[in-house]
Amino acid sequence: MDLTQSFINIFLNTLRDVIPIATLIVVFQVILLRQPIPHLKSVLIGAVYVILGLVFFLIGLEKALFPLGDTMAKQLSDPAFLGTVGHEQVDWYKYYWIYIFAALIGFSTTIAEPSLIAVAFKANEVSAGTIGQWGLRITVAFGVAFALVLGAFRIITGTPLYLYILVGYVIVLVQTIFAPKQIIALAYDSGGVTTSTVTVPLVAALGLGLSSTIPGRNPAIDGFGLIAFASLFPIISVLTYAQIMEWKILRSKNNKL
């Protein structure tokens, strides 16, 4: 009964969410460009798939990924698991399992991320083979893994988010000056690409769960920010990677001369 109720609710909300895109397409294609929609039948079937897919996905998130990220964060930061007593302040390094978990989740989900695979392919093309596809994907995955570890560290220590972001973007700025020009836009874009539909809810739940178990943390203030880190560090790691590759090529050219 409860499930049917939530199904109907989510279904109606999803319909409302998809209306803007549908309107946009109809207005521009039919009224402005005065062209019929090509392959109308398959487009309509596709639209039904999109809506049903969204509904299933959102129900699944609510039932599986959100509770999972939340309970795992709570279990891993539980005083009983850490072997400490009650509400005493725990040193940040005692939470090492949290860091390992964050790093593994970040690395493994990024390696499998479909949009990153596409971007890696494009980057390989742009750089005429200088930037290897696997090299780039592993670089970005390390970037995300490091980002989540640092994000967890920030939540555990309760240090302000903006300091990290500020320092991060200063590093990006300095790198932008020195990095090969062609890679800059692509590197900036790779930050937004890595945080996918599945990773985001899990990581968000991890942050919220952590901040609600660790004494002295407030979920509304400390719980968010992991995704911001995961969008920032890939920019740094991709720029670094491009610089290293360029330096290597320059050096091998010099050696030949």
Partner: protein, 247 residues
């Protein structure tokens, strides 16, 4: 014959979706079994929910490839060729707005943010208040992404260097961080990364690369990318302003 082929396609898609989820399953199982040494909480719910996630993701991506992506690409190209600046800019804004409002990850995170805000007493406890807060977040993000794509398209047309926009944008972010209420900052920083996923990235990239390759003197590689970077940045600004207005 037809039915068998259909079933095979669906099975393949399910397999792909499952492979995407496999790393998460492995990491989570490793931790439950070897580190926490505890049984899965509500294992039935989690399994059923994961199945729904896989199925939903599969249908969603399949549907996008059948409907939204081909039309979006054709539209972006024909508008770029048509040469009417007003319609192109209007389309850019509308594309950014409408794709972010339907973005599944953003829906999920906004709901979660609403729940937390209500538990922390920042907003009222009634479901309608939580819902209107979540919707407010999503509308701010959608306006932000729309504006970002609009500015990004003007950048491609004018050939401005991307890093000037990014630097001044993050300057604004830093100033707003000082002014905005503490409780909105984390979620504001996060929404940028959340808004740019499944629907937005492919459509927006198609728009940028399509434009840059139609316009003379633009390089699709250096000018075509960069829209997503703006779409990550702008929501931080808009959501912090939203936070200043409502808290």
């Amino acid at each position: 014959m037809m039915i068998i082929r259909r079933a095979q396609v669906i099975l393949n898609k399910l397999k792909e979706a499952f492979i995407d989820l496999l790393p998460i399953i492995l990491v989570v199982s490793f931790f439950q079994i070897f580190v926490l040494k505890q049984p899965f909480p509500n294992i039935g719910d989690v399994l059923f929910g994961s199945f729904l996630v896989v199925l939903g993701l599969m249908l969603f991506v399949e549907g996008l490839e059948m409907s939204l992506f081909p039309i979006g690409e054709v539209l972006a190209q024909s508008l770029a060729r048509k040469g009417s600046l007003f319609w192109l800019l209007l389309f850019s804004f509308a594309l950014g707005f409408s794709t972010s409002i339907a973005e599944p990850a953003l829906i999920a995170v906004a709901d979660e943010a609403g729940r937390i805000a209500s538990i922390e007493g920042l907003i009222g406890e009634s479901p309608s208040e939580i819902e209107s807060y979540a919707l407010g977040l999503r509308l701010s993000v959608a306006f932000a992404v729309g504006t970002a794509i609009l500015i990004g398209v003007i950048r491609i047309l004018k050939g401005w260097p991307l890093h000037f926009l990014i630097i001044s944008g993050y300057g604004v972010v830093m100033i707003l961080t000082i002014l905005a209420p503490e409780q909105i900052i984390g979620i504001a920083y996060d929404t940028g990364g959340v808004a740019t996923s499944t629907i937005t990235v492919p459509l927006v990239t198609a728009l940028g690369v399509g434009l840059a390759s139609t316009i003379k003197g633009r390089n699709p590689l250096t000018d075509g990318f960069g829209l997503i970077a703006l779409a990550v940045m702008m929501p931080m600004i808009f959501v912090m302003i939203y936070g200043m207005l409502i808290f």
